[in-house]
């Protein structure tokens, strides 16, 4: 089991708050790994550090054997490590198809590669992935006109458009209509299986993460509290206490 992502001693402070303290963990290639923890335990902060959204105050991060600790977000994204946002970020005044077209990393992000209209290949792949995420019928709508849940799905489709090596998903089912959650789980599993994308998933919904992840890390107060397979964590006294204590 080779580690695709290795986090070693990651520490991040915001003024007086230590949001992440000495966190070390690994995400093996091709797997689905979960990251759980009560509100404010530092999950999103860890993702932000990994993708270079803000620099860490200590520790190092490696992706596929490469040191990425000091790289900027866009550089890390171009290595195939893509994140989605907890609050969902899409391009609201662009249509679903346009959102997808600009996310096509294969068509290129270089200045000269951009200087041509959207190709038929890009369009086909965009439509296929929109269909995969159940958004084909909404492809001409402005992203800002979509519901919150639909925007989450669009964000997932955009991330897949990059053909990423690994996806960091920050609460992919939060705010999604409960009847649609199973559909999201199934799509994530298929993305992992069929496209070979490693998934590192933050999730608040215990049912979701237990059925999705093969291995779970739990944070509390910015520290790594426990790690293990879902069944083990579900019965872990420390994890239960952390969640009860936070509620």
């Amino acid at each position: 089991m080779s580690a695709q992502l290795t986090i070693e001693g990651a520490t991040k402070r915001f003024g007086g708050i230590t949001a992440n303290e000495d966190i070390s963990l690994e995400v093996p290639e091709g797997r689905i790994v979960g990251l759980i923890g009560p509100n404010g335990s530092g999950k999103s902060t860890l993702f932000n550090s990994v993708v270079g959204y803000h620099p860490v105050d200590g520790g190092s991060i490696r992706f596929e054997g490469r040191e990425i600790t000091r790289l900027r977000t866009a550089e890390i994204a171009r290595l195939g490590l893509i994140r989605t946002f907890q609050q969902t970020h899409v391009f609201v005044q662009m249509t679903g198809l346009q959102n997808m077209a600009i996310s096509d990393a294969e068509a290129g992000h270089g200045l000269f590669q951009l200087m041509r209209p959207v190709s038929a290949e890009t369009r086909e792949r965009a439509e296929a992935l929109l269909a995969f995420c159940g958004l084909y019928g909404k492809r001409h709508l402005m992203a800002g006109e979509l519901s919150f849940g639909q925007r989450k799905l669009l964000e997932l489709a955009m991330a897949l458009m990059v053909r990423p090596r690994m996806l960091l998903l920050d609460e992919p089912t939060a705010g999604i209509n409960p009847t649609l959650i199973n559909g999201v789980i199934e799509r994530l599993q298929r993305a992992n299986r069929e496209f070979g994308v490693t998934l590192f998933v933050i999730e608040h919904n215990m049912r979701v993460i237990m059925s999705l992840a093969e291995h779970i890390h739990c944070l509390a107060h910015g520290r790594l509290l426990a790690s293990g397979p879902p069944e083990a964590l579900r019965n872990d006294r420390r994890v239960i206490d952390a969640y009860l204590g936070a509620r």
Partner: protein
């Protein structure tokens, strides 16, 4: 303005552009100015509308073009027309180089900070030019005389600016249909997300501003000759007139749209020509009232307002499958 009506509208505007100097020959100077204003609004919109980076300093590129062109005409010793063309190209080149240089520094700043950083550009340039003897210091420069009967100069500039405006329009229509156009819109909508998707946002922003600067350099390059004098504050780095107008016209028509800046410039120029001379010293006040009026009543500009009013039409244009 759906897909198939677009070329028709362009043809109609082109026909008007060609015929106008002969339909109303007394207004050739105003016609030339109209097309120059259209170009200013169009280029301002590349960053201001499409990319969401409001610049209040684009007048810098216009003024640089104006000075460079007249200096080339003065010092190179070519005939009038070759000298003018060379001057315009040199001016555009310097303006573009400045945009690359300044843009690499201040386009790192997000939205409002960038806008504030651009505020001083025109003023600073005016101060520098006003104190620089090589550029005639405070008294500015005089371009060479137009080598033909007086009436023909305005005819020449009317067609020159119309030609450039038409070229710029067609070029921008094509540009906004590429993925580069989408990248600019992506930056406007959510720059964090654009970066998270691996886009080279910095490079695109500088490129967009440089394109605007190049064209503004051309416009300024001919304007010194058309107006007949280059003054550091009144014509070249005229922040209070051209500098504000280009922002205003784009917003009035509808920023972030292809036709909005054109429409805004036409309406602004006509209104101004009809009313301005009657306002005697109240022009600045009138301008202030117009700005407030637009911001309060037409924040999305005329086209943006029309789209909310008649959403069905916008369905066809904005969501048109031809764009993605």
């Amino acid at each position: 303005m759906s897909g198939h009506r677009q070329p028709l509208l362009m043809l109609a505007v082109a026909a008007v552009g060609v015929a106008l100097p002969f339909v109303i020959p007394d207004y050739r100077a105003q016609i030339a100015m109209l097309w120059a204003l259209v170009i200013m609004a169009q280029t301002w919109d590349i960053t201001g509308g499409q990319t969401g980076y409001n610049s209040f300093g684009n007048i810098l590129f216009f003024g640089v073009g104006m000075y460079a062109s007249v200096v080339v005409q003065r010092d190179v010793g070519l005939d009038f027309f070759p000298g003018l063309v060379l001057g315009m190209v040199v001016g555009a080149g310097i303006a573009a180089a400045l945009a690359v240089l300044l843009g690499s520094m201040i386009l790192r700043m997000r939205g409002h900070y960038f806008a504030i950083a651009t505020l001083g550009l025109g003023i600073a340039a005016g101060e520098i030019a006003g104190g620089w003897d090589y550029l005639g210091a405070g008294s500015g420069l005089s371009p060479p005389l137009f080598p033909a009967p007086p009436g023909t100069a305005n005819l020449f500039f009317a067609y020159l600016y119309f030609g450039v405006a038409a070229l710029v329009f067609v070029a921008l229509a094509a540009l906004y249909r590429t993925r580069f156009g989408l990248a600019l819109n992506a930056i406007r909508d959510n720059e964090d997300k654009a970066e998270a998707m691996g886009l080279h946002t910095g490079v695109y922003k500088v490129t967009a501003w440089t394109m605007a600067a190049f064209v503004l350099g051309l416009v300024g390059g001919a304007m010194g000759n058309m107006l007949g004098f280059v003054d550091p504050r009144d014509t070249a780095f005229a922040g209070a007139t051209f500098g504000v107008w280009m922002v205003l016209m784009a917003i009035l028509g509808g920023k972030g749209t292809l036709w909005g800046p054109v429409l805004g410039a036409v309406i602004f120029h006509i209104t101004q020509e009809l009313l301005w001379t009657h306002l005697l010293g109240w022009q600045r006040v009138a301008l202030g009232v117009i700005i407030v009026g637009i911001v309060v009543f037409f924040p999305q500009g005329i086209l943006g307002w029309a789209r909310t009013r008649w959403p069905a039409r916008h369905e066809h244009q904005g969501h048109g499958s031809e764009r993605a």
